[in-house]
Amino acid sequence: MSDGAARTARLLDELFGAGHGVAVDAPLVRGHATLGGRDVAVIGTTDQVHIGARIALALAGHVLDVVRDTPGRPILLIVDNSGQRLSLWDELMGNNGCIAHLTKCLDLARRREHRVVGLVHELAVSGGFMATGMATEACYALPGAEVRVMAASAMSRVTGIAEERLRELFRTSPALGPGVDNFVRIGGLHGVLDGDLRARIAEALDHVDPDPDPRRRLGTERGGRTHAAEVAAMVRAGH
């Protein structure tokens, strides 16, 4: 078993205790467990996998199985990826369409009354985050996890902004800098879960936000993304 898969297995043991029914078959994670007396479906990835077309479809298939076979059962999505897979074959097959399909399945689950909560275990990058955690109704991260769009060196190359200057900006701009704290501030993550993980996940599965997409509101409340909610409301009102 790889180190990443072993860490994921330890996380699952911590969450669900010995003898749970969630298997780590790297890079995929799937199964069912109980948490606080309720059944939970667990779906996810490990080993900081790159999300290619095959992985996206495998995850989508797991989501559809849960929707079909265990209606209404909450889904915990374990997020750990290095972004979308960069390969000619995946592009040839329409990786964007496969990822869109995965998010469509997660959206379908939510509409069919499944609670869908994400948990970033180690890493979520850009299109890989959009494919998974961003398609849940609430996504949390573990302390020490990382969320980013692009590494500083690559961002410097693409934008033409010197890397040193970028790193300076990272310290003051939650809209730009990598890291879970910045994503919490802009409303892209609901929060960081520390302390009693089982209790925190159980709370997250219980918490229902009437707002169909609370991320803009959270970004405003937390001061990290102050324009999005207002601009969207203005357009929605036809002004």
Binding site: L86, M130, A135, T226
Partner: protein, 298 residues
């Protein structure tokens, strides 16, 4: 008299809207006079645009009410930042309130605006969720893809979350750009300078043959207009049966083309008689090939 053909790919965001909608019916929301520009670009010493690179509003198409958004490919590659994304999200959510004949998205984007990367990425998720919500309410969302940037990054995921996609002959739709793949994985994986290869992998004709887009049209605003009109008030189902059917279709695709390394391999496998000629065909000739294949498969 046949009207003058206006190029879609070369038009500006506003030019595309003006040409697509019934004349004089467009009313813009949150336009340049509202001056809602990016709050993040000035800190980087970069110029802003008073519409943040996207035009949104309402109008009529073939006499029917529509909401429409149009990305300006000339401003930072049509990239999605905080304000740009919020305008598209608000537009889609307005679809829940006014139930138009469609929400039409004219996409021309490299994806997330890296200068405000986190805000742009989350905005993508918000746009996409709004697409699903308005679709679930029975309002079709139609994506049109053309222009210099194609449709990449998170925007390519948004596009495939819509009901319908029309693409121009020169349109491209893919998540990762060729340059990024080459930079990370090497030129052996993808030679970004090989434009014909880029086109065979990500171009509109390959996407049409693969079943990723619903129509390919010549590069004219009128052709886009006719395609979009055909889908007004035509939502596609989004229930379990529909999503399962899509799942089966995608799984079959990955199995069938597992050994393909080039668009030509895929087209040959699909039964295109002279795949090497596909890139040279104009839209009419290409669509005749597609029609004959669909006829054969029925």
């Amino acid at each position: 008299m046949r009207p003058v053909r206006r190029s879609y790919d070369e038009a500006t965001a506003r030019g595309r809207i003006d040409g697509l909608l019934d004349a004089g019916t467009f009313r813009e929301f949150c336009g340049p006079t509202a001056r809602r520009s990016s709050p993040h670009l000035p800190a980087l010493g970069l110029p802003v645009s008073f519409d943040d690179g996207v035009v949104v509003g309402e109008g009529r198409l073939d006499g029917r009410p529509v909401l429409i958004g149009s990305q300006e490919g000339g401003f930072m590659g049509g990239s999605v930042g905080e304000v740009h994304g919020a305008k598209l999200t608000g537009l889609l959510e307005r679809g829940l309130d006014v139930e138009p004949a469609a929400v039409v998205l004219l996409l021309d984007s490299g994806g997330v605006r890296l200068q405000e990367a986190n805000a742009g990425l989350i905005a993508m998720g918000e746009i996409q969720r709004a697409v699903f919500r308005v679709r679930a309410a029975g309002v079709p969302v139609i994506a049109a893809i053309g222009g210099r940037n194609g449709c990449y990054g998170g925007m390519s995921i948004v596009a495939r979350s819509c009901d319908w996609i029309v693409v121009s002959e020169q349109g491209r739709l893919s998540i990762s750009g060729p340059e990024v793949i080459e930079a990370v994985e090497g030129i052996e994986e993808f030679d970004a300078q090989d434009r014909a290869l880029v086109w065979r992998t990500m171009g509109g004709k390959h996407r049409r043959l693969l079943g990723e887009v619903d129509a390919l049209v010549e590069n004219s605003i009128e052709a886009f207009r006719m395609a979009v009109i055909g889908w007004l008030e035509q939502p596609r189902p989004l229930d379990l049966a529909a999503v399962e059917a899509e799942h089966a279709r995608l799984e079959a695709r990955l199995r069938r083309f597992a050994e393909c390394r080039d668009g030509l391999d895929v087209w040959r496998d699909l039964g295109v008689e002279r795949p090497e000629e596909i890139p040279e065909l104009d839209a009419d000739a290409f669509n005749a090939v597609v029609a004959s294949m669909e006829e054969r498969d029925r």
